[in-house]
């Protein structure tokens, strides 16, 4: 489907605007440039309102205003009827289909809002014989569903900001729902539910005629009820598990280039503790060295004197001058006997006596000195020994201090290295992320465990239900009256089983087809071909983008690359679903850098060669980087501006 024309009458600021989207031979690209509040988003709302009857992108201010154009409302006379309408003329495989929604309002001057009087929704088309046909209201709504189903419209018309955050909001569950819808699995599931309901009715009817059959039927019903509860729990936990996995992926991406600050801080605390202990020991060694220097410093000063003394004493010992060998007993005897060895008398008070006494005193003094000199030998030797070991002792302590200094220096380098690793990050934020990561991992693991247990419980119930159904079959077989109903139940059960298998196969096929188309589109359009390795949709329907180095990188790629992936996914959905609608993007490059705008400009151009693309730019967005790629190839280009009273939009056709 492509939009050929939008005709807006009295719809909000669009009092009377008709936009024609005639295509060029090669491209189908349409550009509208408008300031904020100048109708871009309301154009998106107008399409939604026309097709589905609501306006999902309406701002809070606009919600307060009537849908009827304000100038029309002000200029209308009391009691007149005014019509708001949006007409969407489309073309699908050569057939023109027109969707038109209108509301008729009754204007009362004493009321702020006009009174809604009538609503109409019409779809006009040509039948097989090219006769004009139209359907209204519910039938028209059903008709829209066949072209762009309401449930998946968000994959067709969206604003650029949403495109950037596409895979944050389009969770696995939503993608799964879209695939569900696209695969028409919802129809198959409805068939399965309805078959089950009809088969249960058949069993119930048989049960009314046989207590035994009723007993088995009730048991089956009870087990089926339990199985349904278990399956609901599995689905609910699956959503929780998927949410946790998405959060884990997001956090891992945030933290991928950030060190584990908590672990580093713990390591740093350990290093600081070791530093403190080693520093304490080192300081003790320094004190030891100081004590050694203080103690031996004095001895060192005396060393020459001690050396000389030692030499003198040694020589005296060597010369046998010490110890002295004088025998003072002879002198003492002379003084007692008063007779010298030569028999000469030594008189009291004589000079001889004085001399002998002096000699006796001299010998006594000399002996004390000699003894003391001899006693000095050992301490001097000890001091000398100590002095002789001083150097090695000093070297040992100095070496130890040096080693401690080196160790402390290494520790300091490590501590500083951690500081530099942590520096520049918001430490509290990173810690918070790590803490959240742990929590989500716990939730994820817990849910996996619970889902596994529930799946086992479901398998047990499946087996019990199958056994009970066999019992029922046997019970029905016993009586001829039940033959037909038994046959119908078996047929219904078999049909239900086939339908359930078809659901699984279709879901897998559609998922795979969307995955392949997304991958093809993305790698065909992306400007950095070597940066990325793969795109895939996992079993939980979450989309993954894999970097060339093998890691998940959806959250860390540039805004333009994210937008490209979202566009590729949307194109894939369109192709696989067969709902080949235009892509309409409001503010498509508002969050994209100038350099990337150039790339996206080229991408838009390439997309427009195969699909209708309507882009609603802000004037600042439509920068030279974009315009130089799109100006020449755009099929149409228009500018929208507000009138002075800001109640009407005027359109200027550039091309």
């Amino acid at each position: 489907m492509r939009i050929e024309r939008i005709d807006l009458k009295n719809y909000r600021q669009f009092r009377s605007v008709c936009i024609d989207f005639g295509r060029s031979p090669k491209e189908d690209l349409h550009i509208l440039v408008a300031d904020n509040g100048t109708g871009k988003t309301n154009l998106l709302n107008a399409i939604n309102w026309c097709l589905y009857g609501n306006e999902p992108h309406l701002s809070k201010d606009s919600q307060q205003l009537p849908r009827l154009n304000l100038n029309t409302l002000v200029q209308a006379t009391e009691g007149t009827k005014e019509i708001v309408s949006v007409e969407l003329v489309t073309e699908t495989e050569g057939n023109r289909i027109t969707f038109k929604r209108s509301e008729e309002y009754l204007v009362h001057k004493d009321r702020k809002q006009p009174v809604l009087h009538d609503i109409n929704f019409t779809v006009t088309y040509l039948d097989d014989k090219k006769n004009a046909k139209w359907v209204i209201d519910e039938e028209a709504t059903a008709y829209v569903e066949r072209f762009v189903p309401r449930d998946i419209r968000e994959f067709f018309f969206f604003d650029g900001e949403r495109l950037d955050t596409y895979f944050k909001s389009a969770t696995g569950q939503q993608i799964s729902n879209a695939i569900f819808r696209i695969s028409q699995v919802d129809t198959l599931n409805r068939i399965s539910d309805r078959l089950e309901s009809v088969v249960n009715d058949l069993k119930r009817e048989a049960g009314k005629r046989s207590p035994q059959i009723e007993e088995i039927r009730e048991a089956i019903e009870d087990k089926e009820k339990k199985r349904k509860e278990v399956m609901e729990q599995i689905a609910e936990l699956g959503v929780q598990k998927e949410d946790a996995r998405r959060k884990i992926d997001e956090l891992n991406e945030k933290l991928r280039s950030i060190p584990n600050i908590e672990a580093l801080q713990a390591e740093q605390a350990k290093l600081r503790e070791t530093y403190k202990k080693k520093d304490q020991v080192r300081n003790e060694k320094v004190i030891d060295k100081q004590n050694l220097l203080f103690e031996l410093g004095i001895l060192l000063r005396l060393y020459p004197t001690l050396q000389v003394s030692s030499q003198v004493i040694s020589e005296k010992v060597k010369n046998k001058e010490i110890p002295q060998t004088y025998d003072t007993r002879l002198l003492d005897n002379i003084l007692i006997t008063r007779q010298c060895i030569c028999t000469r008398r030594v008189e009291e008070g004589s000079s001889e006596e004085k001399h002998i006494k002096q000699l006796r005193a001299d010998i006594a003094t000399s002996s004390v000195i000699a003894r003391e000199l001899l006693q000095m030998i050992s301490p001097i030797e000890q001091i000398k020994k100590k002095i002789s070991t001083f150097k090695s002792e000093l070297e040992r302590i100095t070496k130890e201090i040096q080693l401690y200094d080196e160790e402390l220096n290494d520790l300091n380098v490590k501590i500083q290295s951690i500081d530099s690793q942590i520096g520049g990050y918001n430490v509290e934020q990173v810690k918070q992320w790590y803490s959240e990561l742990k929590d989500y991992q716990r939730i994820y693991d817990f849910n996996i465990e619970r889902i596994t247990n529930l799946k086992l419980a479901k398998e047990r119930l499946d087996k019990e239900i199958a056994d009970l159904n066999q019992d029922l079959n046997k019970a029905l077989l016993k009586e001829a009256v039940f033959q037909e109903v038994r046959h119908q139940i078996a047929f219904g059960n078999r049909a239900s089983g086939v339908v359930n298998n078809v659901v699984k196969t279709m879901m897998d096929r559609v998922r795979k087809a969307i995955e392949n188309e997304t991958r093809d589109s993305f790698f065909n359009l992306v400007w950095k071909k070597e940066t990325f390795k793969d795109v895939y949709i996992d079993e939980n329907y979450a989309l993954h983008l894999i970097h060339g180095l093998g890691y998940e990188c959806l959250g860390s790629v540039s805004a333009s690359e994210r937008q490209l992936l979202a566009l590729s996914f949307v194109i894939a959905l369109h192709k696989v679903s067969g709902f080949d609608s235009p892509i309409l993007v409001d503010t498509p490059v508002a969050r994209v850098s100038n350099e990337q705008r150039e790339n996206l400009g080229k991408i838009f151009y390439q997309i427009s060669r195969n699909k209708q693309l309507i882009l609603l730019f802000l004037p600042t967005e439509y920068s030279v980087e974009i315009s130089r790629n799109l100006d020449t190839c755009a099929s149409s280009m228009r500018k929208l501006r507000l009138t002075k009273d800001e109640r009407e939009i005027q359109m200027e056709v550039i091309r």
């Binding site: 198959l188 309805r194 119908q488 078809v502 067969g578």
Partner: protein
Amino acid sequence: MPSMNIAKQISEVIKEQASNDESLQEFILAILKWELTTKGAFQFKENYRQMIKQYSSKWEDAK
């Protein structure tokens, strides 16, 4: 109808899944067609019962 491609695929998968069981195939395809054209019908029970009766009469089960 834009979604014809998917509908065609569903038909193929139904034929694969119920191969060698023509009555079952025909029944599921008939139900699918009815669901796609009469979406949200309230009288589904009556219709399903009638179709089960009709298609199961030609069907042989293993018992």
